[in-house]
Symmetry: none
Subunit: 210 residues, 4 copies
DNA sequence: CATGAATGAGGTTTCATTCAT
DNA sequence: TATGAATGAAACCTCATTCAT
């Protein structure tokens, strides 16, 4: 992260050829491996390239700088989680509040626990890369999906669906992270599902009441 | 010729003389200034010492390494926020659930917004330093206080106060962070107070119901 | 934020391209120059790289750390002296004891005086780098050659050739070093040749007698 | 060994008072302890002072700089060994060559093995401090004693006793060091006594013959 | 396009030495 | 005299990035 920070984070060129796609993918995979195996501090461009089986030069053919790689990494992960949540939202249109909450909480927990290690490991890269923005974008995306879903609830209606969704989505992350940090044993996860559902349901009821 | 580096994060030497205390304090203050003004990446020990008006040598007289300083910084901040929350909890023993939630949410938001910039800026140091542990410790502390408070609620009783408190405390952080990230304008903060209170109240009611 | 340092003394990368070979060589030469001109204490990696006309980065591309360079330096020197002695031993197979002693003493003195300055200067690096091991290895090598040679002596036979050789080889170093330290004028060197030969011959006769 | 190297190596003041003597001694002892326990690289003035139970300031009251301490350390050790050898020489005036050699070799080996660890550990300090000079001085001292002894030999007479003594004294060190490095087990030491005696006797006979 | 040797600013940390108290 | 906080030059080493081949 030493020299210039000016360069944009967009990929330097669109991988038109098949080989390019493969290379980019190899680099991203290698980055994850290095991150998980050696930690963020040891995650150097050289090491990543080595692990990916390409030269550092090639690395810079596909990413303008290291930040861009980190951003891509975070982007990919976050947006996959978001996509899942989105799908879950669409699947329960028209259901009851409780049904809705149960569904998306489960989707979220499943997505997170499946790649719990990566999730934790990406914490630092996200922070470095200004992940807030990326996370924000995806949160909004999920927020929109949630808002849309809430509008269809069979047993309640809401006045400020946008704000509600934001709170809902961000509130759920903290407890999840905490439990992941505590070691994520199945029994604890199970209780977390109940509690997060209760958190969401309770909030929505309380918010709807006014 | 380098030397081995075991080095705990504990302070290298407890400041005995008056001069020492001043030095340590100057270093901590300078660290915060540098972090806020130049950002985490530029936060080098040299620069901190310079800003503090002491030599690098003095820095290392009191901190075994850079991590230790970061840890101290995070520790100080987090534990002050925790202390506030703790005091708020004790102040509303015996009140209603709604009263309790309103009080601690406000205390939390006040503590965070007062030093909003620092709060945001410490995010990355915390991540680097394994802040999870520090945050966990303080969360537990607040969690205990919250649990104790909940036991005295005049209008409800709870079966798993520990788990409830954990979820409560960690759930509140995300929305706060998100709003801080969005620029923390007063109007938004005001709405956040309502929503977080609703979140907590709703959760507690929902949890008590079973 | 430092990283752990395990780092063996083995070269970090084997120079493949022509350019690399030149770089490594330039570094080794520069190291010797700095050692001789400025002394061991002033022999920093920066200074060496500077003198070699390369960047510090290049230095660390080929040597994992400073110790490794020192080790390489000592290794090269010691093993060249050893090689010479070895060749001398093979050249006088079957001769008389006196002939043998004269030959290897001369070979040893020649090798040492030719690069007398380097020999003296490498004393400290060797000590720092645990040169004992390197020297030991090469001593053994010479010892073996000497032992083999002794077995072919036309006028004597020995019972413990290994032990004899060890003593012989190590005994010869001290007086040599002492004379080097005294300024190594030709007249003194000449007398040293006689005395060391006498030392060796006398020892062998005395040892054979039993 | 950082700053000025100009300052003399002589003690800054003669310890006139008893307390002073005790302090100097404590420092020297502490230095040895640190050297043996932590190694030369970790042997800092601060650590030595700490171990000695005095402040760094006091350290510099008694030694003008670190080199002076090292020099004193080496001096003390080497001169004690020399004194022993000297006494041994005087004790065998008028004896036969073989008797003489046996005696001084034993004296030397005894002195060295008694403090074998210290002997090895002082190797590096000696090199750093220009121990050559110190060792030279003591070697000369021993050389003189040996020369004087040789003059009284009952069964031989020598033409160049000074040169002979120098070679004798320095020749004996190498094998000793080698054996110490190999682990110094008693059986090996015993054989070393024989071999070194043979080395000396053989040399003297050979030298006397001409 | 790929390679990987080269770069060098800059980071962290040590430690001999001084001097105000 | 003793203390130990403070100093700061300088050492080692890393790693994102470039560019000649």
């Amino acid at each position: 992260m030493k020299r210039t920070q000016v360069a944009s984070l967009n990929p330097r060129k669109l991988p038109a050829q098949v080989r390019s796609v493969a290379t980019v993918d190899a680099i991203l995979q290698a980055a994850i491996q290095v991150l998980l195996a050696d930690g963020f501090e040891k995650m150097s461009t050289t090491r990543i390239a080595e692990r990916a089986g390409v030269s550092v030069g090639s690395f810079y053919q596909y990413f303008p700088n290291k930040r861009a790689l980190l951003a891509a990494l975070v982007q990919r992960h976050v947006s996959e989680v978001a996509a899942r949540a989105e799908r879950a939202c669409q699947a329960v249109q028209g259901a009851t509040i409780r049904e809705m909450c149960k569904t998306i909480v489960n989707a979220f927990i499943d997505a997170k626990t499946e790649r719990a290690d990566l999730s934790r490991a990406l914490y630092l890269p996200a922070a470095v890369v200004g992940g807030a923005a990326i996370v924000k974008a995806q949160s909004d995306r999920v927020g929109n999906a949630v808002a849309a879903m809430l509008q269809t609830a069979s047993d309640a209606s809401f006045e400020q669906p946008k704000l509600l969704s934001l709170v809902l989505v961000t509130a759920v992350v903290g407890p999840m992270q905490a439990v992941l940090e505590m070691g994520a044993n199945p029994e604890l996860i199970a209780r977390l599902r109940q509690q997060l559902t209760a958190l969401c349901v309770g909030y929505l009821i309380e918010a709807a009441r006014r």
